[in-house]
């Protein structure tokens, strides 16, 4: 297969000492690659090396089958734009001036912008919605606005490939989604290839065509999101000790309450999640059931409950499950029921509630 962006045996690091060895990446034109990994794992080091800001220690980087090392500064800058975590140093520069610096590789000896350059600048600003702040001083805008201005700057460099180091970190949810949408749009329209690092795993999972996992020594995994986001993998990659990350849904939960569970929660269909989380906040351990494994409540229950009585997806609740549920319920002092009405396939849970009432337990209706 022909890759647009490729690395071969790439080793990166500082002062000739490799930090991450043997990086093998292959990207087709227009693919989005996201680097994930714990803080300090070397994501920025990899990005900086790709952007030729750090001398690479071994291996080669190819852009459209040409070695990046052999490209001149101007040639590279017409193909590759960067948005770094490092702040842009400006003085008395408006946002428009900053965006216009992206035209640098295309201007003449004195760097004076032509009419067509101004047009590109204007379009880039419109694309990321910063036209309204174009006359404001770059140092006086918010971090989120600054990140968008920096994206406009990179876009107006008209690159084939764009390198972004944690571009969404200061953005609120609206702009996070917008930012990534712009990248997708650029990919669609101009075939832009994107390499970036993200801390938002759930976004990485959604936006990326490929994911590169870095764990501080080497590339742990490289592949499609569905290959990388295997159950339990993220917890391992990030050595998560308190709490958990649900790879399937891209959501995270805090550490479950410890101790013997004295509360039983009857839930289903998404009614229990908030109760589970409330109990976690209050530090109360609990048992919940009976939930089908494809229930909305199930991922949260699995993360937070001491015990979950669960059935296989799309399978009926068996007598075996009921016996287990009754036994566990008996050991509890309090029942929380999140359901008012029970559907045809939930009759077992209704029965469970009746059983609880008969054994005169404290029952809290939470519906």
């Amino acid at each position: 297969m022909k890759y647009y962006f490729k690395t071969e045996g790439l080793s990166v690091g500082y002062h000739k000492k490799p930090i991450i060895k043997d990086i093998e990446i292959g990207l087709e034109k227009g693919e989005i690659l996201t680097l994930i990994g714990p803080n300090g794992a070397g994501k920025s080091t990899v990005l900086k090396s790709i952007a030729k800001q750090l001398a690479i220690i071994a291996g080669t980087i190819y852009l459209d089958e040409q070695s990046v090392e052999s490209m001149s500064g101007t040639e590279l800058s017409q193909n590759m734009a960067v948005v770094l975590t490092e702040k842009l140093r400006t003085e008395m520069m408006t946002c428009e001036d900053v965006v216009a610096t992206g035209r640098y590789p295309y201007t003449g000896r004195f760097g004076i912008l032509s009419e067509s350059d101004h047009k590109v600048v204007k379009e880039a600003m419109e694309l990321v919605h910063v036209t309204a702040i174009k006359d404001q001083d770059f140092t006086r805008i918010s971090d989120g606005q600054r990140q968008r201005v920096m994206l406009a700057r990179a876009i107006c460099q008209e690159p084939e490939i764009i390198i972004l180091d944690e571009p969404t970190s200061y953005l609120d949810v609206k702009y996070k989604l917008e930012f990534l949408s712009i990248l997708q749009e650029m990919r669609k329209k101009k075939g832009l290839t994107v390499i970036m690092s993200l801390h938002e795993l759930e976004l990485a999972e959604r936006v990326s065509d490929k994911i590169l996992c870095i764990d501080g020594k080497c590339v742990d995994r490289f592949g499609k999101p569905e290959e990388v986001f295997e159950q339990g993998y993220i917890s391992k990659l990030f050595s998560i000790a308190s709490g958990s990350f649900d790879e399937e849904n891209g959501s995270m939960e805090l550490e479950p309450a410890k101790g013997e569970a004295k509360v039983f929660v009857i839930a289903g269909g998404g009614t229990g999640r908030n109760v589970y989380r409330r109990l976690q906040r209050q530090g109360i351990p609990f048992i919940t059931g009976v939930l089908p494994q494809n229930d909305l409540d199930y991922p949260v229950a699995r993360a937070l409950a001491t015990d979950v009585i669960a059935t296989e997806a799309f399978e009926p609740i068996t007598e075996e499950h009921m016996q287990e549920a009754r036994k566990k319920l008996t050991s509890c002092d309090k029942i929380i029921c999140c359901k008012e009405t029970f559907g045809t396939l939930e009759q077992a849970n209704l029965e469970l509630l009746r059983f609880a009432k008969e054994s005169v337990k404290e029952i809290e209706m939470n519906c």
Binding site: E75, V82, R89, E91, T101, Y104, R109
Partner: protein
């Protein structure tokens, strides 16, 4: 917005250019002997006037020197500020002038002791050597300290050491030389000859043109090295060029006029405020003009305020320049808080 900015630039440049002309005229006219403007124009036209010798042998070269060296000084300051990303850097503050002064004093004393005439070119070469030595020290320090004030403090220290050595040399020099050397080592535009002016004009014009052609990479460099690199700038070449060019400018000034304080720091800031921009393509010529105006003005005061006694030029530049530096520092610290 773009349009109103352009108007501001034009006004700023007009203002600076007119000021240069006005101050050149004032510097030539005013003095113990007053020369009228009509006389000057007549003399330029080839007519005979009373004080033609004072005009052509003393005032004119001195005024030209103040204009050229003042511009060079401000430009050197601007380049150093850009290089170090430090708003209070300048050839004097960083000890570069003092380094140049030291080597020039050593060379002068040595050559005069052997009764060899010291040429302008020798002086510039000696000053350049000294400037590079100081610059080397400052660069070493800048690797160790990443702090703007520490860099300046180390520069000031280097300056003190160099000045001490210079003082020592001057103290033990021949009596006859002392007067000249002493005046020069305090900084002064007096005693300029046309030969001096021609040499400095050539050196500084060439340097200025080179710097002007570097405006584009400089504008990228201002944004930070990583971004400049991504824009295709060869950082290493640019940095070496900046060091050498600012040293040549500083050396040229010291060789002819001795160390002059604060112009290099103050003028770029004043000019920046006037322009409302830091674009190198505007700043480079504007700094030059601004430095000329500032030095012409200060030399006029130095020469006339307590005539016939002459003040050292640094005395005057410090009075006007140091407050600007303070203002810059206060404004910056306020911005950091905000």
């Amino acid at each position: 917005m773009q349009h109103s900015r352009k108007i501001r630039y034009i006004i700023a440049f007009l203002l600076l250019s007119i000021s240069v002309l006005v101050f050149v005229a004032m510097n030539v006219c005013i003095g113990t002997v007053k020369i009228s403007l009509e006389d000057i124009i007549a003399s330029i036209g080839g007519g005979q006037i009373n004080n033609s010798r004072i005009l052509w042998d003393i005032r004119m070269p001195r005024t030209m020197a103040a204009m050229i060296l003042g511009g060079a000084l401000a430009l050197a300051g601007y380049l150093l500020q850009t290089f170090f990303h430090n708003p209070i850097a300048g050839p004097f503050v960083l000890g570069i002038s003092s380094g140049a002064k030291m080597v020039v004093a050593l060379v002068m004393v040595f050559l005069m002791g052997h009764a060899i005439r010291v040429s302008s070119v020798t002086l510039i070469a000696a000053a350049f050597l000294g400037a590079m030595i100081s610059m080397g020290f400052v660069l070493l320090m800048s690797r160790k300290v990443n702090n703007m004030s520490m860099l300046v403090v180390s520069g000031v220290m280097i300056g003190y050491i160099c000045s001490a050595v210079t003082e020592l040399v001057v103290t033990f020099a021949n009596d006859a030389e002392i007067v000249n050397l002493h005046n020069w080592s305090r900084g002064s535009f007096s005693g300029m000859t046309w030969d001096n002016v021609i040499v400095m004009a050539v050196v500084i014009t060439v340097t200025f043109v080179i710097v002007f052609f570097m405006a584009k990479p400089l504008s990228a460099y201002q944004l930070g090295e990583s971004y400049a690199q991504n824009m295709g700038v060869n950082i290493r070449v640019l940095r070496v060029a900046l060091v050498i060019l600012s040293s040549i400018l500083s050396a040229c000034i010291v060789a002819f006029a001795g160390p002059i304080s604060f112009v290099g720091v103050a003028v770029p800031h004043l000019v920046k405020s006037l322009l409302g921009s830091t674009k190198p393509i505007l700043m480079i010529p504007a700094c030059f003009l601004g430095g000329s105006v500032f030095c012409l003005f200060c030399d006029l005061l130095a020469r006339t305020m307590f005539a016939p006694t002459e003040l050292s030029i640094s005395t005057v530049t410090a009075v006007f320049g140091a407050p600007v530096v303070l203002w810059v520092m206060i404004r910056r610290s306020r911005e950091k808080v905000a």
